[in-house]
Symmetry: D2
Subunit: 351 residues, 4 copies
Amino acid sequence: MTDYPMPRRRKAKWPVAVLGATGAVGQMFVRLLANHPWFEITELAASERSAGKKYGEVTRWLDGPLPPATILNRRVIACDPGVVSAPIVFSALDAPVALEVETAFESFRMEPDVPLVIPEVNGDHLALIACQRQHRGWKGAIVTNANCSATVAAVALAPLHQKFGLKQLFLSTMQAVSGAGYPGVPSLDILGNVIPYIADEEQKLERELLKLLGTYADGEVTSAAFKVSAHTNRVAVEHGHTICMTIGFEESPTPESAIETMKSWDGLASTVGLPTRATHPLVVSDAVDRPQPRRDVNAGNGMTVTVGRVRRDAVLDLRMVAVGHNTVRGAAGGSVLNAELLATTGALDSA
Amino acid sequence: MTDYPMPRRRKAKWPVAVLGATGAVGQMFVRLLANHPWFEITELAASERSAGKKYGEVTRWLDGPLPPATILNRRVIACDPGVVSAPIVFSALDAPVALEVETAFESFRMEPDVPLVIPEVNGDHLALIACQRQHRGWKGAIVTNANCSATVAAVALAPLHQKFGLKQLFLSTMQAVSGAGYPGVPSLDILGNVIPYIADEEQKLERELLKLLGTYADGEVTSAAFKVSAHTNRVAVEHGHTICMTIGFEESPTPESAIETMKSWDGLASTVGLPTRATHPLVVSDAVDRPQPRRDVNAGNGMTVTVGRVRRDAVLDLRMVAVGHNTVRGAAGGSVLNAELLATTGALDSA
Amino acid sequence: MTDYPMPRRRKAKWPVAVLGATGAVGQMFVRLLANHPWFEITELAASERSAGKKYGEVTRWLDGPLPPATILNRRVIACDPGVVSAPIVFSALDAPVALEVETAFESFRMEPDVPLVIPEVNGDHLALIACQRQHRGWKGAIVTNANCSATVAAVALAPLHQKFGLKQLFLSTMQAVSGAGYPGVPSLDILGNVIPYIADEEQKLERELLKLLGTYADGEVTSAAFKVSAHTNRVAVEHGHTICMTIGFEESPTPESAIETMKSWDGLASTVGLPTRATHPLVVSDAVDRPQPRRDVNAGNGMTVTVGRVRRDAVLDLRMVAVGHNTVRGAAGGSVLNAELLATTGALDSA
Amino acid sequence: MTDYPMPRRRKAKWPVAVLGATGAVGQMFVRLLANHPWFEITELAASERSAGKKYGEVTRWLDGPLPPATILNRRVIACDPGVVSAPIVFSALDAPVALEVETAFESFRMEPDVPLVIPEVNGDHLALIACQRQHRGWKGAIVTNANCSATVAAVALAPLHQKFGLKQLFLSTMQAVSGAGYPGVPSLDILGNVIPYIADEEQKLERELLKLLGTYADGEVTSAAFKVSAHTNRVAVEHGHTICMTIGFEESPTPESAIETMKSWDGLASTVGLPTRATHPLVVSDAVDRPQPRRDVNAGNGMTVTVGRVRRDAVLDLRMVAVGHNTVRGAAGGSVLNAELLATTGALDSA
């Protein structure tokens, strides 16, 4: 904790709530927040069915060591805006449920006044929060997770887009089953198989990627204007989305200059030193056959995106492959990092 | 056998040899040839280490029921041109070995006088055999397997290329482990993982696809001229390569007309009725999440390529996904079909 | 069809209903009955939610080629005893649902008057049907599936128990995910994992195995009296339960005599020639590392149990391993074979 | 490092060599020794083919972050007793190779004067080192890894054997592919499959388990005398062996007293506080479906064995399931812990 002093002379940790705390992403939130230097879980919200029971009793813990007893023994509350009182609310709800429940919390991912943020990439979009609050009369702050594959792609592409300008982008993903939550993908569907379809995923990936790489100005985010086309596939991998990319640029870089650009990129300066940030949010591998999800997914505690196989393309300019952790970088970890960035800006001072 | 009378009034079956008979693709040859109406295995060739031993003793049979006892008890011979006497030789040798051994058999896959053939797609390229024989003084016929992913892509694309003219093609494959032979991919590399690299595969796929979709005229094959770019990945699937494609055409079709074109395509007329040919070499699935390798790989006894998710693309014209059996359609089955087509043309009459 | 003439001079096929027709086992029933020489599917029953819709629209077909259009277009009916009219009803319902629904059909698997039958092993127990009918005033015949792991073990052990008398039996299973139905086991639970627990499975396996190997006399089945203890595990296999067995006998056989006993066993004579029966219901493999589920599960079209690694035990008498298809031999195929045996006995003549 | 002061007033770290450093277990040794407070890798030995090259160039790193640059840049030496000079040598060599190479190092795992040690279980057997040295004129110390499945079973059974006395033991294992090294198990053999056979594994497990639970007295280890019988299976799991056990005792415990005995067991007192030791070498899970390899394998940094499903048995006394990390607890980690224990006893003082 001494490594990450509370920002802005604040003394007490911020109380936070986790919506959908019992699911796969919810568990990841609990793990990341269990010993957080700035935030303290005060509410765990889930379905009506779980409400009133102990978190440890209603949660089938999916990975790694159990959270501390104080969390296991906490009573779950219902996902009800009248009940949740913490000023910071992390949401791990599946999209369809989120729609219904989060409506109450005044949050819609693609609404123009709701920032879709990866701190290192477009942390400045958090300025939209001010508009959102004014617009909606909301005092707290809800931090949504961006689509996981869009997040991995955006981290890999941000430095290249900033320097060379993306013009055309072809993506083909191989996504982990944890992206579908728990119980999620039936084993009979994925053992020894590939499913070349994930409902709504291609549209989300294309649309959110453009918003993530867009520009904030005057209370508005203008999406990036390059052309993007995606195939999204489910594969028999537990964690980690792999994305093959073929890229055309405004100004064509050599593979070497693209690699150099990615290696020297460190993201938005104000994110350096945030507790959940990886030392290097983007790493380029020299190995001929990396990145690979099982071997690279946990780089930077799951917050680093690893890129490799950067090479010339026969049709456009470059081909490369990116791997990132879908439930950490692409979900819970990204959301916590958003909140940390907000905390340093003063946006949470009244919370 | 009554269903497939010997072609051209021939009475006796043709004796055939299988090179590399103990490996994964070699076993597939043995399965397909074990009860073949026109061909009879008379020689099984493998490494020096296996030579002289019974086929059943030196072969770790990978799938399905064992071949008949006459085959299991046959003595393996060495892959030596001085030893193999059958006029038709099927080769299942891995590329590096093939280079050395097949040299002796006067066969090089990308040499201009060696046909790279998928009967339904470019069976007319077999005309090159005549040039090859004249050129090299070779009397028999060696039938090589084309690259497995190039084969699957070519079957899916042939009708579209014929009608609308391919201009740009982006491919991203998810390839089965059997494509790497046996022992091939270590389980520690692929369980719960994706390997975004297969040595030389992208180059082979790009180059052979253009040759397969090329044009034969005057003793020469001219490769197709569209632009193609590929990512090739290994996934934890036993059999069946899945290929995501994004396609730009000379003359842009609607998804509906593309589907109609593929559904009504039946390949080269002279292949209809060949013993190993599928009734439909190309099938289009209407299901939103098909084709899938485990569920579609055995369509048409492994000789049918299944296409699905044919949809408009945001950047080029169309996106779609194809699945085909890599060791049947993309290797042994394709080679046997080649030989069957040759048999009907009279090219094997002297054999 | 000419191969399997209708039994007892019957002319028309028996109409049959399948309960739970949309699930994993239900689909297997549909596949096995689609072209059956004696039975014809006239009713497909499933949940209220599916009732009234076409079978092809509400069924996510899990494996292999689709059933014929006549079946795909049939309207699903609700699992309601007042609605089902076919005299023969095959049930693929999951146990908990079965309890509620099948109650209406007067069937309880472990009730003393309900036969738990593997035709080759204890087909004579079907005599209980007469008692059941008398007892309950039931005119048709409901054929339940026995527990799948108990079935595989029983086929392997029947000849040994008949000849040498089982005294002590230790079992440890590695069961396929299809045994849990669809959606069943979440992929996040089983990818790269083993789950050493299947609810109620050990008790079912122990109890049903003793009933299957029990003796029928005077309208009553007396369970076998040997001692049995089981571990049941779920593994990342699609189809095929693998069972390790350590066995103590009344009269200790050598491995050679045990193998000979199994190889020469052919099951109940009256089952020979039934349409769904495998030529050899039990096969012994000589390979050092067989049976294996992926390689042996489809032996005898899924109706053959394969045994291997028969060897001396250091504590009791013998160790061996068995593999059988859980949804064919252990579920749908076994039930259909039961009905075929019933058909030849005259028990269905009035149906 | 301040947490683990050098034992016995020693000042410099002990130089250590790793034999077979490039393989799967060798990599685990490198990971565990890279920042070890007492040991420093000075030699990395591997095959002739790798000798002279940099470790980082000849090693395909299988898991997790790469070791530090000082290790990656170290030149590999050949596994040759005339070349290796470190006084402590860790061996990760596969058994068949080990036989030949280790002969030169005077080490044979089942020789009566070579201790087979799990420090917490039978650390007192290290006393054999003195006999071994005297006997063979060997000054250094070679620490072999015990068989991985025997190790996991021994940790789980040690407290029960000490208190209640094992009489009969039936084991059935489900072993991870990393137990076979790299490249090891071909993916074509294990994807969606179970292999019910591992060469020599059952004999090793039975024999070594008895030696591990044996008694040291007067320069001799007497193996335990209970009866043991094993099935060993390979499953599609990356790391972590799962073992189902059915146990008969001299003095039958209730499940509750067995659980209490395991929970209160802490192993040999002199191992408490060794750098590589887990706080709890044995943990008992209360969850109905644990232990599971993917979820429990890393307990205690891979040095903890997790037991669960402790329940009454219908034939003998108890059934239970154990999971342990095969390449940490069952190989590299166990060997390092052995060396640490040796270090505290003074046996390495002259080294």
